[in-house]
Amino acid sequence: MRRLPVYLLLDTSGSMSGEPIEAVKNGVQIMISSLRQNPQAIETAFISIITFDSSARQAIPLTDLASFQMPDIRATGTTALGEALQLVSQCIDREVAKTTTEQKGDWKPLVFIMTDGVPTDSWQNGLTAFKQRKTAYTVACAAGHAADTAVLKQITENVVSLDTADSATISRFFAWVTASIGVTSTRVEDSGKEVTGLHELPPPPAELNIVV
């Protein structure tokens, strides 16, 4: 079966502690529960969570929705976004099956990045590695005004920003991510076509500003 891999890159630096990190955890939890109600998503979508603070780690390897369990996420340290990009590149290489004449590979992965700050590591190498991987689309979300949208714009053309990193706004972001994963899994199952960009996704809610 062709899986639809979804990578969530979540900023867990110290500035996220308190309300923002709780909102992120809650958002992911609700996202998983509601995707489990979608017949196409529960069969095709596989989720991985990569967190980054002073370093990056894969908290959850690519896991099907039915067996997914929420990890404990804590906010501490700095913002190693470059390392996270490096890590997701390695994960894609390792976890996403390629199509050959003998096997049908996975669908191209979806990548969602959420950060509230500026990278504190040398992130250019990570960016170069990530750019070499093929994704169906990558969406970067700048949560609050401290996030640097110019940096995110270099990672992907699909950048959205949240005016505040409070729980209501963050939950709207995850609701939109949920809808986007739902639409993509329906689309790949129905027509066998990948979604390629923001314009094919459900319209983002008013809280999400599209950065052009």
Partner: protein
């Protein structure tokens, strides 16, 4: 009772025993009343520490992350609270109340949670427990265990009938079993779950006809593109267009000349028969394909829609029985295979080259004018002259994706043998056609077989079997 202990106790309060008072201190320690007081201090100290240890241990257990695997409705579930692994040797008693509500049971002796879940949701189980050293009379402690029960994926699919009032409506499901010359055709075409879930139409189609007096049979299968809004009509027009075309064609075609060519070729008597046959196949089937393309173009114009809205793949076969065997000619555009199994099912011939997305630069449709001018056009034809055959099968990707997975498998006889076994009932649903049976129930049985479950494969399914 240690002298040392009392000395340390005093020292903690900065009371030291001067050497001149050693005798007095000894006498003090020998006093029974004082010994009792010291004993009490020791006991209280021990008790205090025990209480603290207990509270500490309780807090550890309550904070200890304990995860049990997620369950799924209708799927037998078994998880175990492994006390040894959890380091719970001091847990003396456990119970989980209210599990029956979810269709589960807890066995305190083994720590097993078992059963077949009935209710989906995100739950928190209340694990009640007692610890060694605790008050047996007091209420048990409680720890919440998260348990996810997934819905049964099959229950999430809705089956919404398509709109019969739509101008291009077609039945969500059709199946037939009919004689075809000296053979039989069994065919079923079913709307996929992804379409049923939203009440949209079946995009697949098929047609077949046996033509007399020429003796030729014509078979066609088409898959309308999911993204094209009128492809359900495109596929219908393509299949009906092919059978109509050949019905007319054989009314006026030089069938005697055609028969003679094949007879000469079979007996090895004619001149350049292979070349003439190649020309005949190319000319006859190519013109038919182009006529269908034109028909779709005319329809699009009349409806004032783009021909892209009718995008459909098309495979078709001309089949005729001769004294020396069968002549089979084919044409294909798109990713639907035509497979020919020899008499004892020991060899498979894939009659057509598939236009497969990732390697062929996207699939192709009969609605695309460029296929007729492409230098690949001659590779779309197939010809076989065989003494006999077991089965000739035409199918859409709704069958081929789940059952063959990749194109390369369509040329592997072992995979076909598994497929034949599957049709004969070797499948999880135990649904059998079976092959070779031509009773009035055969059509319904093929349709029932076609309900097989394959995660991620919910496209329309069409399978035509000539047996």
């Amino acid at each position: 009772m240690g002298k040392k202990y009392i000395r340390e106790l005093f020292a903690a309060k900065q009371i030291t025993i001067a050497s001149s008072k050693e005798q007095l201190f000894d006498a003090f320690l020998n006093d029974t009343a004082n010994q009792q007081i010291a004993q009490q201090i020791l006991e209280n100290q021990q008790r205090l520490m025990d209480i603290w240890q207990y509270k500490n241990r309780l807090a550890d257990i309550q904070q200890q992350p304990v995860t049990i695997p997620n369950a799924t409705v209708g799927k037998p579930y078994q998880a175990t609270l492994d006390f040894r692994q959890l380091n719970w040797s001091d847990v003396t008693w456990t119970a989980i109340e209210g599990l029956e509500e979810f269709g589960l049971q807890y066995d305190a002796a083994t720590g097993a949670i078992e059963g077949t879940p009935v209710k989906p949701g995100d739950y928190r189980l209340r694990l009640q427990f007692r610890l060694a050293g605790g008050d047996a009379e007091a209420a048990a402690h409680e720890k919440l265990l998260p348990l996810v029960i997934n819905p049964n994926p099959r229950s999430l699919w809705k089956n919404i009938p398509s709109d019969t009032a739509d101008p291009f409506w077609k039945a969500d499901e059709v199946a037939e079993c009919a004689p075809l010359g000296d053979r039989w055709v069994t065919v079923a075409s079913k709307r996929g779950r992804s379409h049923a879930n939203v009440g949209s139409f079946r995009d697949d189609d098929y047609a077949f006809r046996h033509l007399e007096p020429s003796g030729w049979s014509v078979l066609a299968v088409s898959d309308g593109a999911g993204s094209a809004k009128l492809s359900r009509e495109g596929s219908r027009l393509a299949c009906a267009g092919i059978t109509d075309y050949f019905e007319q064609y054989f009314n006026t075609a030089p069938t005697a000349d055609i028969d003679k060519l094949f007879e000469e070729h079979a007996s090895g008597t004619g001149m350049d028969t292979q070349k003439k046959i190649n020309h005949l196949v190319y000319d006859t089937l190519g013109k038919a394909a182009f006529a269908v393309h034109k028909k779709l173009e005319d329809f699009a114009t009349a409806q004032q829609v783009s021909i892209k809205d009718l995008h459909s793949t098309l495979i078709f076969v001309l089949l005729k029985k001769y004294a020396f065997g069968y002549v089979i000619m084919s044409f294909g555009v798109g990713d639907c295979p035509i497979g020919l199994l020899n008499k004892d099912c020991s060899a498979i011939t894939l009659m057509n080259r598939l236009d497969v997305g990732e390697f062929g630069g996207g699939t192709r449709f009969i609605t695309m004018p460029e296929i007729f001018t492409s230098d690949k056009f001659p590779t779309r034809f197939g010809f076989k002259l065989v003494p006999d055959f077991a089965y000739l099968m035409l199918m859409t990707d709704g069958i081929y994706d789940p059952k063959f997975v990749v194109e390369a498998n369509l040329e592997k006889i072992d995979i076909w043998k598994t497929f034949l076994d599957d049709l004969n009932g070797n499948n999880p649903e135990n649904t059998a056609l079976p092959l070779g049976d031509h009773s009035p129930e055969s059509a319904g049985r093929l349709a029932a077989w076609m309900d097989f479950w394959s995660p991620g494969n919910h496209d329309d399914r069409t399978l035509m079997i000539i047996s």
